[in-house]
Amino acid sequence: MLDPGIEHLQNAPEDVFTLWRNREHIEIEATIIFDQFAKDLKELWGERDSLAALSLRSSHDELRHAKRCQEILSYGKNCPAPLSPHYKIQFGPADLDLRKRVQYTALGVCCITETLSAALLIEMHKRARPKLIKETIHEILVDEVDHGRLGWAELSRQAHKHDLSWLSVYLEKLVDEAFSSEITPMLGVSQDLAPWGILSEKDARPIMQETLKMVIYPGLAQLGIKLL
């Protein structure tokens, strides 16, 4: 007998699969960025650095998330070919030195994007219905908590020796980029897609605003990074 959750997935609107494909693409990008971040952390702190190891593990996590997205996509009418992390991404300004590149990546990727993502996944997990989608969201959520902490950990250990206030200039831009490039592509127009793990922009925006106001900005302020 077919799992009723699987039946639901087969009957999901096509938009659901388009948006999970967008998530797959974003997971692949994150695979590449965390892999590069791991290399930068090793160069900065040494081969045996625990946060470099966590970043490398995060890269593997993101690739696993992309494969989980493919599982969901396989229930659509036209399952696209899996994406591969075989390209390069330059995250942030090209002229930053190694230490600043690490700080910038920790802020943009982990403290902002992954923290916002964790907040949205908590809500998505509450609303998701089909078993595969609920399990996938939970798996991603558990990992995103670690990926977010990675950035908070890196900036915390740097903040006691290095001035991080230069990042304040980039804060608003990084938040805007997280919204437009990483989060909006995974949001639906309709509120009816929530059982399939898709939040609408209307539902997501207050969660993001609250997370920025109550979590991200206060956390960054303690590290000397403030919204200008």
């Binding site: 964790a118 908590i122 809500e123 908590v145 908070w152 206060p218 303690q222």
Partner: protein, 78 residues
């Protein structure tokens, strides 16, 4: 949404990891505002039997006194 929990799990939890990695690098631990909370918080890890156990219904739950990070059945309750 429980933003206080999110702050503790991510920001304070991250600061704890940062302090621990600094010590592993041979540097003394550092003080921070979030660091003040570090001694009072202990987080769960779903795969760690020291922090999470199976209850009678077979659900993985966090042990009393530990802070859940959405890795176990607490994620369903909230």
């Amino acid at each position: 949404m429980n933003v206080e929990k999110l702050f503790k799990v991510l920001v304070v939890g991250g600061a704890m990891m940062g302090a621990s990695s600094s010590m592993a690098q041979g540097e003394p631990s550092f003080d921070s505002e979030t660091g003040e909370e570090q001694g009072r918080l202990a987080f769960c890890a779903p795969e760690d039997e020291v922090t999470c156990v199976e209850n009678e219904e077979g659900e993985l739950v966090v042990r009393d006194g530990l802070f859940c990070c959405w890795g176990t059945s607490c994620s369903i309750q909230e």
